[in-house]
Amino acid sequence: MGVTKRAHELLEEKRNALVMELYAVLRQMTRLRKDAYESLSKAFRDLVDAEVRLSSSDLRSVSLAVRPCPEIDLKTRRVMGIAVPIISVKDPRRPLSARGYSVVGTSPVVDQVAGSFEDALGRIAEWAESEAAVRRLVVEVEKTKRREMALDKIVIPRLIDTIKYIEFYLEEREREDIFRLKRIRARAEKRGYALTP
């Protein structure tokens, strides 16, 4: 019972720590989501601007020359024993010469829109990383809470019942033993035997 209660306390402490961590990551995620939304909305504004300045077909043609997005690295780190992903984009902001299109034959608005989407990509990766951490933490909090509840509502009451039953059974047996002993003593006295106490 002592071990179970200690386990319950530990789970409660773990849950509290996880919730605190979750709130910290949530605050960070809210900020990163706002940044990502802002950078994406700027990127789309720049896209509309570019489509207005060039034609949609010309812009689409240039976009086909742009090299695929930079490498995205996926690693994991451990937060309170939970594996959370690290999503990092390798140099999201590429130099003009690495984007893949020619400078002479294009307009500066293309640089603007390409740069904005590169910035947005970096922000989205940061947001995705924190959102993934939030999801993992939420799952872990739920798991810890379920375990804690299981201990609190099932295991501990069951253990208490078992202890009560064993105590009752032992008391019953003790009473029976006393009764049995009294009867043996009475019978022995009746037959003239002296029993040592």
């Binding site: 720049d46 509309v48 601007d49 489509e51 207005v52 300045r53 034609s55 949609s56 077909s57 010309d58 689409r60 043609s61 086909l64 020359a65 742009v66 090299r67 130099p95 003009l96 010469s97 690495a98 984007r99 893949g100 299109y101 020619s102 400078v103 002479v104 034959g105 307009s107 500066p108 608005v109 640089d111 603007q112 740069g115």
Partner: protein, 321 residues
């Protein structure tokens, strides 16, 4: 050609539908039947441009259209770039062909054949016998870290070489080409400095020729530490004031659109100067360029109206005759 008032009317139109209705009352009307979206308008005005270029090229110039052919090579190169990119990106032929404007010497059938190619390695043989074949042979995206950059730059170089040959001996056209090169170099330098390109990288992008004959000015532009130094390097040139103003606007609006608009306005001014001489190729080319800008303005307005941009925002993004 449309009048300035008509462009103003387009800009001030209530909605996209309203704009199409007003545009339908002009010479573009016959191409616009049933136009409901931006892409319908784009297709219609492109068709008008193709037909006008064909009629100008065939009817008026007969055997003396070398400068015009050289100018229209610009569209050939644009189409070639689009087709090659489409093939490398596995676009369907119809998706690719939607983006091309068939003006110039490259036959539509050849462009269609190229767009239908499934393996990019077959592209050089599709353009066998043209000046594009050796450039396509060299195009190797698998081993290139800069994608289409080298290929596109080679094509840009080819365009300016063609223009130089085509415009040779006609002073008005030579002046226009020089201004075009100057403004392209200024724009490239500002873009390079904004994006942090090194002087070595910038040298490779610089177009030779132009009216900047002073080696010191070019050196200062290339080696400039930032955009302000580029502006100082181009001081006392005819473009200085407009570019300086545009750069200031760019910084205020955090957008490069004002620079793009200013460069194009300056280029259009130069095209106007080309048309001052009453006879000769200058007038024809200046008409074609004016039409190009007019069509670009119509596309801008159509897109702007579709996206719900206000009249003021649209006016700041338009360059028209």
């Amino acid at each position: 050609m449309l009048k300035a008032g008509q462009i103003q009317e387009f800009v001030g139109s209530e909605s996209f539908k309203d704009f199409v209705e007003i545009l339908s009352r002009t010479g573009y009307g016959e191409y616009l039947r049933g136009a409901k979206s931006y892409s319908d308008v784009e297709r219609a005005v492109n068709q008008k441009f193709v037909e006008t270029c064909q009629s100008v090229s065939e009817t008026f110039l007969r055997g003396k259209r070398e400068p015009l052919d050289a100018y229209l090579r610009k569209q050939d190169i644009k189409n070639l770039k689009t087709v090659v990119r489409g093939v490398y990106n596995h676009l369907t032929p119809s998706e690719t062909l939607q983006m091309i404007v068939p003006v110039g010497k490259l036959d539509v059938a050849l462009l269609r054949k190229a767009a239908e190619v499934e393996d990019p390695k077959l592209l050089p043989s599709t353009f066998r016998g043209t000046e594009f074949e050796p450039l396509l042979e060299k195009l190797d995206l698998e081993h290139s870290e800069k994608g289409f950059l080298a290929f596109d730059s080679a094509l840009d170089g080819l365009l300016f070489a063609t223009l130089e040959t085509g415009f040779k001996g006609i002073p008005a056209l030579e002046r226009y080409l020089a201004a075009w090169k100057d403004l392209t170099n200024i724009q490239t330098t500002i873009r390079a400095k904004t994006e942090g390109l090194t002087a070595e990288e910038l040298v490779g992008l610089f177009l030779s020729g132009g009216s900047f004959t002073s080696g010191t000015r070019i050196k200062r532009m290339i080696e400039a530490e930032g955009v302000d130094e580029v502006l100082n390097a181009i001081a006392l040139t005819p473009y200085s004031e407009a570019i300086r103003e545009a750069v200031k606007e760019c910084a205020e609006s955090k957008s490069l659109t004002p620079l793009d608009v200013a460069i194009n306005k300056l280029l259009l001014e130069k095209a106007k100067e080309m048309g001052v001489e009453p006879v000769g190729m200058g007038v024809v080319l200046s008409y074609i360029i004016a039409l190009e800008y007019e069509i670009a303005a119509i596309k801008s307005i159509a897109k702007g109206k579709e996206e719900g941009l206000g009249a003021e925002q649209l006016a700041a993004r338009i360059v028209a005759w």
